[in-house]
Subunit: 309 residues, 2 copies
C-alpha cells in the first residue's frame, strides 16, 4: 500500500552531552519516510527545501525507494533550520533558534499520482498546511494520522481542531496530550481527545514508552532501555514512520495490528537515538530490525499467570 | 513458604489534591505485609510501634494471617510519624515532618520461630537495623530482598553497601538507582549495582512502571494507566509486597518467575493508589486480583510479529 508522508525536510543544529552536530540532516518527514522505508514500499514525500539541501541525502532517500515528486525545491532559498540543546538527562531540550526560511510560505501541492494515497502521515506542521493536504486527497485514505505540537495549540487551536477532527489517529507526546485535553491523567486525556474525532490516540512518552488508546482499549509498549542515548532528535518522528510503515505494509488497521505497529515504531525509534541525526536510519536492514523486535518481545513477554479478562 | 517482612508500621499525614488524611495508617512493613498477604500464607512481621497505634489495624493484619510476634509495642511511646504533601502531578512530594519516635532506638529482635525464614523483605530502614536482622537469621533465606532510600546513601553509605552486598535483590526507585551508581542510564546503573552484590535489581519508576535486571537480562512491566491516582503513598512498598508474596507462594526464583512476580507487584500497587492509605489493601480478594492481572496482560500482550532472539 502507498504511504504519503508530509512534513519538514530540514537542517538541525544539535548539541548533546556527546557532541555538537552543525548542519545535521533533520526534519519530521525525513525521519518518517526513512523509518517507513524499511517496512513499506510505495512511499511518497511532500515537503519543501531550499537549494542548500544536500543532493546526497535526496539520493539516499531515492535509494530507499522514497518518491520525491512532491518535494518542492526553491532555488535561491534556504531550507528550514532548527537549533537545539539537550540537557544532561537527554529528556528535555531548549530550542536555541528556528529559521522558517522556505517553510514560511509553504503551499503543499500534491502531484496527481499522490492524490490517491492509502496511508497518510501528516508530520508536525502548521494546521493550515495539514488541512491543505487533506483537501487535495481525491479519495479518503484507509488511514490518516497526524502529529502536532504545543505551539499550534497556543497559536491556531481552531484550525488544529479542524484537522484533528478529520484524522483516524493522533500521534502526540504526553505533554501535548495534557495541554490539548486539560487533563493530567493520560487515561482522562485520551477520553477527551477521542471526542475531538480520532478513533485512535497514540501518546509518546519518550524513554517511558508509548500508549495506544482506542476507546476503552489500552496498549502499552516500552522504550528499549539503552546504555547510551546519543541524540534523541527525530525519535518521535521515527516512531511514527515505523508505525505507519508497518500499517501500510500489512494493510490492517485492527487494534491487534496497531499494537504490532507500535512495537515496530518503538523498535525504529530505538535505533534512531543510537547515533546523531539520520545516520543510524541509513544503515539498517531486515536482520537488524528483526533482532531488535526480538529484544522488545523479550523485554515485555511473560507467561504462566492465571488471570481473568 | 514463609515470608519475613521488616520495616516501619507508622502514622502518615498525607495531603494530595484530593484531600487531607491525618493520622492515616502507613509504614513500609504495613504495606508490604498486607499486599503479600493476598498471595502468601506464612507472613511474619518485625517492627516497632508505640501504644498509640490502633488495635483495630493490628486485628486487620491478624485477620489477613500476618503473624505479629516480632512486632514490639513500646508502652508510653509514640509510633513513627511522617507527613508529606503531593504536588498536583502526584509524581513528586515534599516531606513536611518526620518524627522518629519509637524508631529512634529500634533494635529488631527476631523471635526464634522467625530465624528460619524462607523469603525475607527488608523494607526501607537504617542499614544498621537491616544488618541486625540479617545477622539473626540462622540459615540463609532462599531469597533476601531489600529497599533503601537516598537518605542512607548520604548518611551511611558504608553500612548500606554492607547490606546491599548480602542481598539477592535490591528494590529501589530510578532516582535512588541513579544516586547509588552515579549513572543516569538505568542500564549502566544496573551494571554497576550488580557489581555491588545483588544478582537481581528492580528499579521502580512509579507511573512509568518497573524494570527487572539480572545481568544482561531485562524485563519491563508498565504501571497500569489509571484515570485517578488518589494517593501514591505506599505504592512502592505494596509493589515489593506483591512481588515477594508471589515469590514466597510459588517458591521459584528463576528469572521467568521473577517476571510474573513483577506483574503481581505492579497489580497490587495499582490497587494501592486508588484510595487513601491502606484502605484499598483491606478490601481485595482473589477475583479482583485475577481481573487486575488480566488488565496487565491485555495492556502489554501482542502477538504475530516475526523476530529473532
Amino acid at each position: 500500500m502507498s504511504l504519503l508522508t508530509v512534513g519538514t525536510v530540514a537542517f538541525d543544529d544539535i548539541q548533546t552531552p556527546f557532541g555538537h552536530a552543525e548542519k545535521a540532516i533533520g526534519g519530521a518527514a525525513t525521519y518518517i519516510a526513512l523509518a517507513a522505508s524499511y517496512l513499506a514500499k510505495d512511499i511518497r514525500l511532500v515537503s519543501v527545501i531550499g537549494d542548500d539541501f544536500p543532493k546526497k541525502v535526496l539520493q539516499n532517500m531515492t535509494d530507499r525507494g522514497i518518491d520525491q515528486q512532491g518535494l518542492q525545491v526553491k532555488e535561491g532559498e534556504k531550507s528550514f533550520f532548527w537549533a537545539g540543546k539537550y540537557h544532561n538527562d537527554m529528556n528535555s531540550r531548549d530550542t536555541l533558534d528556528t529559521q522558517l526560511n522556505v517553510l514560511a510560505d509553504f503551499d503543499p501541492v500534491l502531484p496527481d499520482t499522490y492524490k490517491q494515497s492509502d496511508y497518510v502521515m501528516l508530520g508536525n506542521l502548521t494546521p493550515a498546511v495539514q488541512l491543505r493536504v487533506i483537501e487535495q486527497l481525491s479519495t479518503p485514505p484507509r488511514f490518516l494520522a497526524m502529529d502536532t505540537m504545543n505551539f499550534w495549540m497556543d497559536s491556531s487551536m481552531d484550525e488544529l481542531l479542524e484537522v484533528i477532527k478529520k484524522v483516524d489517529a493522533l500521534i502526540i507526546n504526553d505533554e501535548e496530550a495534557r495541554q490539548l485535553s486539560g487533563e493530567y491523567s493520560l487515561v482522562k486525556a485520551a477520553a477527551k481527545i477521542h471526542k475531538l474525532g480520532p478513533r485512535f490516540l497514540i501518546i509518546k512518552k519518550g524513554e517511558h514508552g508509548a500508549l495506544l488508546f482506542e476507546g476503552e482499549h489500552i496498549f502499552f509498549a516500552p522504550a528499549l532501555p539503552l546504555a547510551e542515548v546519543f541524540d534523541p532528535t527525530g525519535a518521535g518522528d521515527t516512531f511514527a514512520g515505523g508505525f505507519m510503515g508497518y500499517l501500510a505494509s500489512t494493510d490492517d488497521i485492527s487494534f491487534e495490528n496497531l499494537k504490532r505497529a507500535i512495537i515496530y515504531g518503538s523498535a525504529m525509534a530505538s535505533f534512531c537515538v543510537e547515533k546523531f541525526s539520520i545516520e543510524r536510519l541509513l544503515e539498517l536492514d531486515d536482520a537488524k530490525i528483526k533482532k531488535r523486535i526480538g529484544r522488545f518481545v523479550k523485554l515485555v513477554n511473560f507467561s504462566g499467570l492465571e488471570y481473568d479478562l
